[in-house]
Subunit: 166 residues, 2 copies
DNA sequence: TGCGTTTGGTTCAAGCGTCAAGTAAATTGG
DNA sequence: CCAATTTACTTGACGCTTGAACCAAACGCA
């Protein structure tokens, strides 16, 4: 019943190689980032991402639903993670004054310290594995490609932080 | 203790934007591929990947340890997944005649049918989201970038299927 | 040959993610 | 201004992944 059922154009050899390389990156890179952060800072990449988004936002405060968008996670997953991070004192929840249904996550000083501590090792890893593996032109091409892909993955660009001017 | 502890060079604004775009792709794309395959073929992306590697290999047979490399998974994870796929009749395990410790996974005809069925919808999705989002030059640049990155992620190229000539 | 180590694989407990269901507050629309 | 719907979030059950512990076969080498 999918549009594919009639005539699923196969990939050319070129396209197939490109895609398989992408799959390898897609599956290995997150595992490596996770391992490094867990080892050096006791955070999963997802936890780091959550704290990081909070730390970049003007008043270090975000509604959970917005935070879920920014981290591409389900609200359910975020709810659990936020609960754990709250228990560890890295953030706290407070009711949203403007909307009785909503809660806001606020980064605590401990949470800020934790991201900042984690950030340096994380950035080093990102450099080693990605940024420094490419020359500036290649990095720019990679970014262009990702932007084109994101237009398909996320047409509303809802996962893009508003404090980023491109 | 990490080399980063002395002077973690930060990312430039350019590099940071490129990296954040990559993170968004890295987190959203697998989820979308998973959802499509699960919905249309009852397979997770990982299961599809396992079956797919088997289906491409000459005699549709691979040792579990090799299969774990090819899919970048732990042997433990693979062992569980193979058990489930075996229960569903998509593959079977047999002892390796050359090594009493090893087992080999063999794709069954049902398994082959299952991958082939799943493949068309999967390829369509990959086209829609990635391949057709880029022109040939961009796709080639993307592949080059991924190859450079893979040299860092996987210096031995152990996750590269040997039946691929690049 | 024989002892220690490495390799290949399985299993189990613990932790995390997902999906469905549930609550409560806000909004819509008759 | 009330009922139905939608939005924001939480919870619980279930399934999957992880990591440690385990076993057995093979290898290294003296």
């Amino acid at each position: 019943m999918t549009p594919a059922s009639e005539n699923p154009r196969w990939l050319t050899a070129e396209q197939r190689l490109a895609w398989l390389d992408m799959v390898r990156v897609l599956t290995r890179l997150p595992a490596i980032l996770d391992a490094q952060l867990e080892r050096d800072a006791g955070l999963s990449f997802f936890e780091y991402h959550v704290l990081s988004m909070l730390s970049e936002t003007p008043d270090r405060t975000l509604r959970l639903s917005r935070l879920a968008q920014l981290t591409s996670s389900s609200l359910s997953r975020l709810s659990n993670v936020v609960k754990r991070l709250e228990n560890r004192g890295l953030l706290r929840r407070e009711p949203d004054p403007d909307d009785g249904r909503a809660s806001r996550a606020v980064l605590t000083p401990e949470g800020l310290a934790s991201v900042e501590l984690a950030a340096s090792g994380h950035v080093t890893t990102v450099r080693e594995l990605v940024v420094d593996a490419l020359d500036p032109a290649q990095l720019d091409q990679l970014r262009t490609a990702h932007e084109r892909i994101l237009e398909r993955l996320d047409p509303a660009a809802a996962t893009r932080p508003e404090w980023l001017e491109s």
